[in-house]
């Protein structure tokens, strides 16, 4: 049993996120992608994988995705079983030409995230999902008695 939780980075320990990214299943497209597998038939047309950046500060993890030209209503964010899935779907109509595409990406949410407080913002074509760390995961100093 762990009694003290300190900031893992200070100990040179690999953070959960990094550990998770090395996991063989990390970043696999969501199951929905396989069911809805147009992407398998027309690779590059639909179901493309969305690139992600993950940052961390002392209070939050931040996952950022590039979604140029997309509106709030084109983006769906789901948290299911510790897996955060971002999917985007867009239809474009331009005269006689009509096109559509979809993008998806799942990232595993590390332990110690306050899932109730996850928030997302879409600005200048960048979606940022903020995953606040739960209180007990934040670095703290322990007073000596």
């Amino acid at each position: 049993m762990k009694l003290i939780r300190t900031n893992p980075s200070n100990l040179g320990r690999v953070s959960d996120f990094e550990e998770w990214f090395r996991h063989p299943f990390a970043g696999l497209p969501s199951l929905g992608h396989f069911i809805n597998n147009l992407g398998e038939v027309f690779p590059g047309v639909t179901g493309d994988k969305l690139a992600v950046d993950v940052h961390e500060d002392k209070d939050n993890y931040f996952a950022s995705f590039e979604l140029p030209g997309l509106k709030k209503e084109d983006v769906k964010i789901e948290l299911n079983n510790g897996l955060l899935t971002v999917s985007a779907e867009k239809r474009e109509k331009d005269g006689d030409n009509e096109s559509s595409y979809s993008l998806t990406r799942s990232v595993s949410v590390p332990d110690g995230v306050n899932v109730e407080a996850i928030a997302a913002k879409l600005e200048d074509g960048i979606l940022t999902v903020t995953l606040p760390k739960a209180e007990h995961r934040k670095p703290r100093t322990i007073a000596l008695n």
Partner: protein
């Protein structure tokens, strides 16, 4: 996506550009009145867009806001932090003063109205 790329707008070879920039995805549409150029530049705020038209070369620059707030560290990176540079050669005279640009959701849309001389016209048969 519409890829009707007008043969009259082409990307000149970038020579002597040593800055670390990348070419954004773009799309050109044209009709009898104007060209419409859509450039994908996620992460670029309005203040980061610079447009320039000189010697028939349209230059679009988009500076990304790459300052990482203090105390934040990257755990995993896939997105490129590089700013964007797109140079397009216009072989058709356009109304420079009537050019419009709009940045919305990380997509820059430029409208380049054609000059009268460049518009198609009907020639009546006598």
């Amino acid at each position: 996506m519409n890829t009707t790329c007008s043969p009259r707008i082409s990307a000149p070879a970038t020579s002597g550009v040593t800055e670390s920039l990348r070419k954004p995805l773009y799309n050109v549409n044209g009709n009898a009145e104007a060209y419409e150029v859509r450039v994908e530049m996620p992460g670029v705020p309005k203040s980061g867009v610079k447009l320039d038209l000189e010697d028939n070369i349209l230059t679009v620059r988009g500076e990304r806001n790459t300052t990482v707030p203090e105390g934040m560290k990257a755990l995993h990176r896939e997105l490129s932090p590089l700013s964007y540079l797109l140079r397009l050669r216009l072989n058709t005279p356009v109304e420079e003063d009537k050019m419009t640009a709009k940045l919305e959701d990380g997509v820059l849309t430029l409208r380049l109205p054609l000059k009268e001389v460049a518009k198609p016209r009907q020639i009546p048969v006598l």
